[in-house]
């Protein structure tokens, strides 16, 4: 372990503060799933990922991460800043004119840490597979990580990719699903039920594991365990249970905070629950 669980939880608390402040600052953006995935991003970037903050597009010899559900950009931007990819002061520019921190992640403004644009849903798993194939051709045995939203799995391209990866033994790929059960129009079970995702991915030939995405110890252990499963002929799917809005009590578990910004009063209420551990931007 590079960090204790307590240290990682402290980082996560700061990232959550940043998320709420960023979304409040521009009165737009997606706090719910950003908060839900904060523990995953913290564990990934501060504990699991073999990466350099001196960013290159190719990332030769490094693990790469792809975010498919690009609307949770606040959590990614804050994590990248605290990991050292760029100065945290830039978080104040989120979604504002001229910013590198676009509403959805993009390579267009050359923000370090981003390797492809995402936001139009369903494309990230294919991209991650492509990056994995290139690494294999280059004799680079690093890992490829991807994060997908659960509602996003309603997009058909995911299932093209899900069929491709096991057949082609893309086995250094670890895809996590943010399994929060919510999407814009309501619970996934009411909009278009995903049913038994574990059985579906297993039927496609994936090795599926389950983690609690809001328990730091569990997510760190789960991602380390996922790494031990790579190189054995199957891609890995981490079905990661999370709570939308985790860390801010009035946002927890509701799709209503998918894409809504808090007002001044709500901001104060949220920040009171999230200790400032690394200093606000």
């Amino acid at each position: 372990m590079k960090h204790t669980i307590k240290e990682l939880e402290d980082i996560a608390s700061q990232v959550r503060r940043d998320i709420v402040r960023m979304v409040h600052g521009c009165q737009s953006g997606h706090p719910g799933a950003s908060l839900g995935c904060t523990d995953f991003f913290t564990a990934l970037y501060f504990e699991v990922l073999n990466h350099k903050t001196d960013f290159t597009m190719e990332g030769a010899g490094e693990d790469l991460f792809f975010l498919s559900n690009g609307h949770i950009s606040p959590v990614w931007y804050s994590t990248l800043a605290h990991a050292g990819y760029f100065d945290k002061s830039e978080l104040a520019t989120f979604r504002k004119l001229g910013s590198r921190l676009q509403g959805h992640p993009t390579t267009h403004e050359h923000l370090p840490g981003i390797r492809i644009a995402s936001g139009s849903l369903g494309q990230g798993l294919s991209v991650a597979i492509g990056a994995a194939l290139a690494k294999k051709l280059n004799g680079d045995h690093s890992h490829i990580f991807a994060l997908l939203g659960d509602g996003e799995l309603q997009e058909g391209q995911n299932w093209e990719a899900a069929m491709f990866a096991p057949f082609n033994k893309v086995d250094h790929l670890i895809a996590s699903v943010d399994y929060n059960g919510q999407q814009i129009d309501g619970p996934t079970n009411k909009v278009l039920a995903l049913d038994d995702l574990q059985a579906k991915f297993e039927a496609f030939g994936w090795h599926v594991i389950n983690t609690d995405g809001n328990d730091m110890q569990a997510i760190v252990e789960g991602l380390h365990y996922a790494k031990t499963l790579t190189g054995k002929g199957k891609p890995i799917l981490n079905l990661m249970s999370t709570q939308m809005g985790a860390g801010v009590d009035y946002m927890v578990g509701s799709h209503k905070w998918h894409g809504t910004a808090p007002n001044d009063e709500q901001l104060a209420l949220a920040l009171a629950q999230l200790p400032e551990t690394l200093g606000d931007y």
Binding site: M57, G130, Q157
Partner: protein, 319 residues
């Protein structure tokens, strides 16, 4: 009228296959992907020599574009192959976000473009692809005119850094360009110098423009013929220089007149040098089943249609 002859007819898709094979030999980063149309795209030679650099994606074009975009991150130069319809309209958003907006070095290679796909009919005959692709910021759009030019273009785009759409076709047509040509992206080819009218043609329509030029010469009309193989970026200078001389223009393409080469030329001329223009193109229509020759004739894409358009546009010239 300069004399053009040919000794054989070949399909432009075979030019792509040969060019891909050559590009693969020259650069080990060149990789190919196909969505279940290896034979149609003439990828066999590449696959035989570089099996580890070929990815069969199956009938899953969206996944193919995403995988290709991802492969560029590891320094690869992916050439994706399927029919033009499935290379563009079917995967427009994947191209838009993962390739164009992300500025990835993907070469989208599209066969069976236009009416000359023939008997399969309108579901497969895309006439809107040039428009779709040229509207994407940063996308280079190329539509070569014969086997040799397609081969040269394929090799050239491997050396160009950035997203490219390369359009070619199925029918065998005369091979009349130089087999050793150097293909320069964005640089027009002067097919024939003339003084009375500028005929600007792309793809399969270039040979038809040459046929039209011969007929026009018999009628005493001296046509300048320019091959625009690169629709975007457009060779503004070549077009303006010619039109300054001739004073009128006919554009020829196997594509809808909405959104194609003709509109790009019209946009240029409207702002720089307003000039009478006629369009030889399909007229806001889908195609249908038939032989390539029957379809080109029925939809007004023959040499005779170019001749008529020239006569009309010359009549519109200011005295």
């Amino acid at each position: 009228m300069k004399k053009y002859t040919y000794t054989e007819k070949k399909d432009t898709r075979s030019g792509f296959g040969a060019g891909l094979h050559e590009a693969g030999k020259k650069n080990e980063n060149v990789v190919a992907l196909c969505a279940d149309l290896v034979g149609s795209l003439k990828m066999d030679a590449f696959i035989k020599d570089f099996p580890e650099r070929f990815t069969q994606v199956g009938i899953a074009e969206a996944n193919m574009i995403g995988i290709a975009a991802g492969m560029t991150i590891g320094g690869k130069i992916p050439f994706t192959g399927t029919f033009a319809n499935f290379s563009t309209g079917r995967v427009y958003d994947q191209i838009r976000q993962s390739v164009a907006y992300s500025n990835k070095n993907v070469k989208i290679c599209a066969s069976h473009a236009g009416l000359t796909l023939g008997e399969d009919g309108a579901t497969h005959q895309i006439l809107e692809d040039l428009g779709l692709m040229k509207m994407l910021p940063g996308m280079v759009v190329i539509n070569p005119c014969d086997y040799n030019q397609t081969k040269a273009a394929t090799m050239a785009i491997a050396e160009y850094e950035g997203p490219v759409y390369l359009r070619f076709g199925r029918p065998v047509i005369p091979v009349f360009t130089d087999p050793d040509q150097k293909f320069e992206i964005g640089k027009a080819w002067m097919v024939n110098e003339g003084t009375d009218v500028t005929i600007i043609a792309t793809g399969h329509m270039v040979w038809k423009a040459i046929e039209a030029g011969e007929k026009l010469a018999e009628l005493g009309i001296d046509a300048e013929i320019i091959n625009i193989h690169t629709i975007k970026p457009l060779d503004d200078e070549a077009i303006l220089t010619s039109v300054k001389k001739t004073g009128c223009v006919v554009t020829c393409e196997e594509h809808n007149k909405f959104g194609g080469l003709g509109e790009s030329v019209a946009r240029l001329l409207t702002t720089e040098l307003p000039t009478p223009q006629e369009f030889v193109a399909t007229n806001d229509t889908f195609g249908e089943s038939g032989t390539p020759d029957q379809l080109m004739s029925k939809y007004g894409l023959d040499a005779v249609n170019i001749v008529e358009a020239v006569q009309k546009v010359i009549g519109r010239k200011k005295a």
